[in-house]
Symmetry: C2
Subunit: 415 residues, 2 copies
């Protein structure tokens, strides 16, 4: 499916360097999408595919990022060294995701509109990029058959969740969250159709503890031209499970979690949230639909509607997991939230949509570091148990649900 | 091999809670190992296998850490929740790795001796531990066949590189480094023979940026009761390579690096250091012996001798990779250094010893964070290229070599 909901209007435009930008507006008069309020992007940006000077100053054709096959692990590693040629870095105090100032001739940020609801645009310094004319073929590196190199011909997009830079995603209204889901589904569907794209990953990095320097609420969407290591692993496990049982692994995981109930932390009509049986992070929740669905684009209206509220409830649980400060201020839990979606091609029937949301935080001010065992060997060590995590989440779930209900009420009053 | 070098004497003792401790002394009168200078450990520690009170205060048999099989990824995840029952945490300003104060009746730290050269002991709060009487079998969890759980029946040891807490490992003399190599080799050999141990990992986490709070120079040795994800991947790749070519993957990687020469940063008679062709970290070096060797215990005397100097040269290159401060002080490069060793059992002939040393630092004060793509998808993105890393390392190699030579001269004078 993924026809846009009638409540959302999508309007595309092109930025000065040739990148795509899409507005997703959910309120009359669909402001950022309306021609009268939309601005052109008159920044003096060089076309993104323009030749770039080499070390000696001579212009060379832009070839884009490449990736190399790590023969020790079987993984592709994009080396986005071209990102270092960043010429127009915004000043440190600038917010490139803010709307243009009212009355200004144009925005000095990325979004040429005085206001917006949700907006998606191609990343200006992407790790993955297809450059027209660059053939997407694998070649031997340094003449060694064993060493392979390829263009990192994917696509990186940024999604702004709100025009208000002071907000966190958990503070948007369910109505706005519904629009974000619509945008995720739309991008998943469109990016899946691009040549060479094997999977689409919608995710949010939240918190300066994980390196986020731009506090404006935003996420990212990566369209990978290869199957990522985690997806490869899951696919391998799912195929072995299907061979042994004839069943879908992720469906069986959900059913086993439901049978046990011990780690279920939130349930809706269409969605279930649980701490996975072998959680590796100090705080980790998986969210899965009850119906077998490959990706966000396949969700129906009822599932999307419920998810808008459910997702905000989960984010509010994350924010309440650690004790509040003495004055009642919630701990800003740093987290990574990522949607695992089935590949666009082979293996699609073996995987199943689910959200993985997790935090590096062990307690306020104390991070789990990925040191020798994790970073050197990939061998995780957890200092807690999934059941302890689930117990705490169950305790705070009612408060999180109430917080979202209050936000809905406010929204209805002011709408 | 791994008979101890005649210049090193090993002396074992037992700490108050039953843990093993081994002194590796390299100088007359082999002080920490001599009966007259060694102290008993009279701390009032509870036996480490003693029953522990449950939530209601009733003592229960100590069962040790368990690990669960993550059916989504095929990885074992130890959940060391018992570590939270830490009863005797040292005060924040204490250094449990310091030798006892001269004349004191006993140490208030872990090492009951007034001085030592190199010492290894079992970690007091291990993530992996075999508890006598606990059978090492896999069982179904919550009655689900798909969900498996097992004792995390491995072993975690700590190695102190120097009695001087102000030193970094790169500042020890080659002679002391030689003793450390001897200790690593000895522990690798002994731990490999323990029942159920599948691989031994000697590593060092260096720097508070990766969560190290104890600045005393030390490393860790993990004996895993399973093959780690990275080793599993390498084994899979090595087997595919052997099937396709009849050759050893890691040997072919070394030979291809030598043929290219582009990323070789240091060469000795027995050892080669290079930036791997598909390096994923902002700074990453692999060090491999020229001879096919499965693990540290298989190194011969000549290889160990050269490695002592070679290893220190590599650490000195790490410390000079980023620009020094204006007053000439070197940047304390945070790093993880880990020895990839062949498994103790199946697959041993397909892998080959190599050191992987890498840093999260992109530039002074700026870390690479493992955010959504890396932590959620396992999909690495590098912002540099292996060749750029190698160029910088080649530039600073002579200075690093000179620094170690100066340290050797000083050592010879004072010895």
């Amino acid at each position: 499916m993924s026809t846009l909901s009638p409540n959302v209007r999508k309007t595309g435009t092109t930025l000065a360097d040739g990148r795509d930008l899409f507005y997703f507006d959910d309120s009359e008069p669909y402001l950022s999408g309306s021609q009268t309020r939309r601005l052109d992007d008159p920044r003096p940006l060089t076309d993104r595919y323009a030749p770039v000077p080499d070390e000696t100053g001579v212009n060379q054709p832009m070839t884009g990022p490449t990736m190399r096959y790590d023969v020790l692990t079987g993984e592709w590693i994009p080396h986005a060294a071209h990102r270092m040629n960043r010429t127009f870095l915004p000043p440190a105090d600038a917010n490139p995701l803010a709307p243009a100032k009212p009355g200004a001739a144009y925005s000095d940020g990325e979004i040429p509109a005085e206001d917006y609801d949700v907006v998606v645009f191609e990343n200006r310094f992407p790790s993955l990029m297809r450059v027209p004319g660059v053939e997407d073929v694998e070649t031997a590196f340094e003449g060694e058959d064993m060493w392979r190199i390829r263009p990192a011909a994917g696509r990186c997009e940024v999604i702004c969740f709100s025009p208000d830079h002071t907000k966190s995603l958990r503070e948007v209204t369910p109505r706005r969250m519904r629009t974000i889901i619509e945008a995720w589904a739309d991008r998943t569907e469109e990016l899946s159709q691009l040549s060479g794209i094997e999977q689409v990953f919608c995710f949010e990095n939240r918190g300066q503890e994980i390196g986020v320097t731009l506090h404006h609420p935003h996420g990212q969407i990566y369209a990978y031209p290869y199957l990522t290591p985690r997806t490869t692993q899951m696919l391998q496990q799912a195929r072995a499970h299907r061979a042994a049982t004839g069943r879908n692994l992720l469906r069986d995981v959900l059913e086993a979690e439901l049978r046990s109930g011990r780690r279920i932390v939130l349930e809706g009509e269409h969605w279930v949230a649980y701490v996975p049986m072998a959680a590796r992070w100090p705080l980790e929740i998986h969210v899965a639909p009850r119906r077998d669905v490959a990706d966000l684009a396949e969700l129906n209206e009822a599932e999307r509607d419920e998810l808008a509220t459910f997702y905000l409830q989960i984010l509010n649980m994350m924010e309440r997991f650690f004790p509040a400060q003495p004055d009642g201020t919630l701990t800003k839990t740093p987290y990574i939230a990522g949607w695992h979606q089935a590949p666009t091609g082979e293996g699609r029937e073996d995987l199943r949509l689910h959200l993985q949301i997790f935090s590096f935080l062990r307690s306020p001010g104390k991070l789990k570091y990925l040191a020798g065992s994790e970073s050197g060997m990939g061998a995780w060590i957890s200092d807690t148990t999934p059941e302890k995590i689930a117990d705490r989440l169950k305790d705070i779930a009612p408060e999180a649900v109430a917080a979202v209900a209050a936000s809905t009420d406010n929204n209805e009053v002011t709408a």
